[in-house]
Amino acid sequence: MANLQLKKVEKVYGNSFKAVHGIDLDVKDGEFMVLVGPSGCAKSTTLRMIAGLETITGGEIRIGDKVVNNLVPGDRGIAMVFQNYALYPHMKVKNNLSFGLKIKRTPKEKIAAGVENVSGILEIGELLERLPKQLSGGQAQRVAVGRALIKQPEVFLFDEPLSNLDAKLRASMRVRITDLHKQLKQSATSSTVVYVTHDQTEAMTMGDRICVMKDGHIMQVADPVTLYNRPENEFVAGFIGSPEMNLIPVKLSRNGAPAITLGGQTVTFGNQLASRLSANLGEKLTMGVRPQHMQMVSSETENAFSGKVSHVEFMGHEVNLYVAIAGHQVTVVIPGDHYNPSMLSDGAIRLAPHESRLHLFDPETGQNISLSQD
């Protein structure tokens, strides 16, 4: 039972490259925290610093109430699942599972009980006598999880554990790991998880909270719904959600109702948006609107942008439209049921953004300036 705290944690490499810029992160006891970000954002480095495989050059890491900065990985009360499983190739599955306990001189009966318990939970009972090279990817993955589970650590660390599996297996392992976490939580065993991934689907579906990282900085930490609906900055807005949020440079005028101008076309919004904007805003802003939040409207409707459809992707349940509005590429997703090829016969389209789902970002700082204060 332990929480995990990172306080101003820094990592500077020998060649004075600063990989992690003083990050603060608080993972609550029993929480499933996902670190997500593009490659090179230092999410794996952060995880390895928590594990103790990488030294930290500044700040403090706490697990429970003890500072673990200078503890070796074995004494930190953590267990880790590696991307390529890192099973010991010369040991049978059974010995792979029990290695950590043997090193800690756990009594034999306890080890046997642990192996039995873990192999029951993960359904790897028949694999115990096999060598890692005789396992399939999914099986090796389960053994790797088992090796972490058997140690009953305070914090579980996962380093992109599903990235070597095929799509179908990945989906089922995702569910399995989430279920496992719930089970642990219910049985009141320690179940704090830090999970690194670059896949936003994994992040959104598995995490209690998600920590979005970029270039060694934390961009936002929030639960999936907040992250999707209230991104604090342009980066998070663009990173979370698929297809990506449209981010378009626009002009805002506030003579009366707020009006957004994009390449000569002006759309006027109402009080909802006005109430979210503070008084002193510049004129040039970046408008962010998700593809799902642009509505196709009839050509007579006012307060909509006109564009030309350049490309259509019919996916079945939904349709992706690629639209050019005044030279800017905009993606729009409409439900498949509403789609009829004839409605795009001349390529002209009129799109109205949902006022309540519209975001405005400061183009210089990237901060979202349209979040209401509540």
Partner: protein
């Protein structure tokens, strides 16, 4: 009409003839290739075969015929050669050789593994310079260091003991082995060792339980090389060992060359054949690991 009807048959026959010709050509080419290989192989093996054959000949016959099949096979060479002209028989010298080889091989395996592990996996001050030094000793001709080494060991009072033969190897003095193991280790991903550290293993436990089992093929190769090279080493014992009692076989072989005036060639050859045997046997027994150890060194992903 008839010509048209017959045409398919002619075509079929032509095709069959063509196939037969191709098969025949392939056969001839195979025979020629293997023939050449066999002849060249035989030429290369001939000195060895001759050695074994001649060891069963009488002294008179050895230089009389170039054939390796003895006319009157005799074991005299083996019997007399085994007894030697000294107080000790050849078995004693074999034991001496083993007494040199076994500690040396064990020492090499342990020290080279430790040093290679250090270089391949840890960062420490002056690592680059130290590694360059190791590689430099690899490039340095052995002869260059003989005299300084001799002086050093003389001052330590180690002359006429096996220490000058054991100690350098037990301190990872054989840069080649260190280099070979480093290359092998570099090809093994670190994840397993990191997993072991997370599992609570310290550096030595990681080395013993995780690294050495994965490194086993390379370590076996190192042992084999060291075994064979030490078995065949002549110069080392010649320089440091002076009392006949402590001679290994490589020196004992030479012994039969200077004590008698007329060389008993069949004795020398018989003992040479015996001396070759251990290396050959060890090589064939461990061939699988040997090849695995060398070939996977650079390319294993």
């Amino acid at each position: 009409m008839t010509s048209l009807a017959n045409q398919p048959q002619t075509l079929l026959e032509q095709a069959r003839a063509h196939n037969a010709r191709t098969r025949r050509n392939q056969m001839i080419s195979t025979v020629v290739r293997y023939g050449i290989l066999a002849i060249v192989g035989f030429i290369m093996l001939y000195p060895l075969l001759w050695l074994v054959g001649a060891s069963f000949k009488t002294n008179a016959e050895i230089f009389a015929s170039p054939s390796f099949i003895p006319e009157n096979p005799t074991l005299e060479g083996y019997q007399r050669g085994w007894d030697t002209s000294t107080r000790w028989n050849f078995g004693h010298f074999f034991l001496n050789t083993l007494w040199i080889i076994i500690p040396k091989t064990i020492g090499t395996a342990i020290s080279a593994t430790l040093v290679a592990y250090g270089f391949a996996r840890f960062e420490f001050p002056f690592k680059k310079i130290l590694f360059a030094t190791v590689i430099a000793t690899l490039l340095l001709p052995n002869v260059v260091t003989r005299i300084p080494q001799y002086l050093l060991f003389r001052d330590l009072g180690w002359l006429d003991t096996y220490l000058p033969l054991w100690v350098p190897s037990a301190l990872a003095g054989d840069a080649f082995f260190v280099f070979m193991l480093i290359q092998f280790l570099r090809a093994i991903p670190r994840d397993m060792e990191e997993a072991a550290r997370v599992d609570g293993a310290n550096t030595i436990q990681t080395l013993v339980f995780i690294v050495i089992p994965m490194l086993a093929p390379a370590i076996i190769s190192v042992c084999l090389f060291q075994f064979m090279w030490t078995m065949n080493d002549f110069l080392g014992p010649l320089i440091y060992i002076s009392s006949v009692e402590k001679y290994p076989v490589s020196l004992a072989l030479r012994l039969s060359l200077d004590v008698t005036e007329a060389f008993q060639w069949n004795q020398v050859l018989a003992m040479s054949a015996l001396t070759l045997a251990p290396s050959l046997i060890v090589f064939f027994v461990a061939q699988r690991y040997f090849i695995e150890g060398i070939s996977t060194g650079g390319v294993k992903g």
